[in-house]
Subunit: 243 residues, 2 copies
Amino acid sequence: MKEGPDIAQLGALIGDPARANMLTALMAGGALTASKLAAEAGVTVQTASSHLKKLESADLLIQRKQGRHRYFALADDDVGALLETMMGLAARRGLTRTRTGPKDPALRKARVCYNHLAGELGVALYDGLLASAMLDEVDGEPVLTEAGRERMMQFGIDLAALETQRRPLCRSCLDWSARRTHLAGSLGQTLLSRFESLGWARREAASRVVHFTERGETELLATFCRQDQNSHGNRSQRIMRDT
Amino acid sequence: MKEGPDIAQLGALIGDPARANMLTALMAGGALTASKLAAEAGVTVQTASSHLKKLESADLLIQRKQGRHRYFALADDDVGALLETMMGLAARRGLTRTRTGPKDPALRKARVCYNHLAGELGVALYDGLLASAMLDEVDGEPVLTEAGRERMMQFGIDLAALETQRRPLCRSCLDWSARRTHLAGSLGQTLLSRFESLGWARREAASRVVHFTERGETELLATFCRQDQNSHGNRSQRIMRDT
DNA sequence: TTCATACTTCGATGCTAGTCGAAGCATAAG
DNA sequence: CTTATGCTTCGACTAGCATCGAAGTATGAA
């Protein structure tokens, strides 16, 4: 009847549970081997191979051979963006998976959302920035205040470099575990890598889990989430240990 | 293994050809009856009913009863946004449907993309605005120039009102028929409804086709696509009748 | 009431596509 | 060479789901 881009093909590709698991595992931005992806998806390697072939020939994944391993990664930022969009909508629609796994608590606490920090610590950071008046929300969009700019530069963020980029500095991103927002955008991304280079946090190898050290977590909260900074800061509830 | 929002459920819902057709038909923003959607999807009403039930219970569609008719529409702007994202990616990946239908030429010429004008006339408008220096592109994002602002106000667009909104005035949107961009954003939307109220164009009842009158098309090109306006205007190729 | 239209539900059918076992390549190590 | 590992291909099986005919419900018209 119609002509044009086929949403159905795309949807069907993402619509299979095994493939969806693989894509979700790759959302952290890294590259994983075929066998790792098979384990993540909960299928045998033969099945995974078949899926990966389909995803690759649709240009959703790219493949890099290295020795006898084959590493797969998302082909493009567009793919990641689509997956994020779907995640967001699925979360808001209450389309959640039932079977829950062992990594779940760690994932809920801190994880990578595309390339920035999400989970409890992610929303705590966002709330803290708001409460201490480093961040402000105008028309629902987060904006860095003058105080925030200073603190970020003290913290070693090259704001000037970030602001020359096309992508927005601050964006809000809806969290699916907590029903709150956390900080995305180039600043969100840069902050996460800064946390890592400071040794506050490290990413778990083949998952989206982010492990914060005891000290890292304390420092994070002290640096960005002190309520008694400039404002009275009751704009956000404390939600640190609510699970 | 994991927990969280289930991309797979969403994907599977959109992944069926019949459902994808229905969703695509609803992207124009209107509400259609169940039987009309069945026809659009090329299935019987029983089958359509089953699909619509699923889409509704996933909160992708909403239903409004009116007499013995049931009108369905996209539940939310988020759904439309997701579909647009998927359309864009599918187009860039070359995932296009093969079977082409009778409405195809009309669709290619002018159609509704979510709520603004797409198709050949859409990209002609965009190119014309660029060529006559009413629109400029900074960092890939379209921006209205001073000359453009004046012309829009002459044309009866209430720019001041649009600019108080959250959503951006100008956005670019990738066309899937022509591989070009056309104008989205609140200005894009307002322009299309202005075309309609001027009698230049009207939307076909239950499709995304936009019919321009002979005069409407001429006026559109004269008003926004005169090359010999202020600039030398070779920044865009003419592509009007290239199919 | 009777008939017509719009839509849903039920039941049966048929096909697609995901799944895994077994075997086949390819690369690396001993 | 032989052995081990990582991955792909082939083939067969099976489950799930889209599909439609037939019957059932709801609204409107005559």
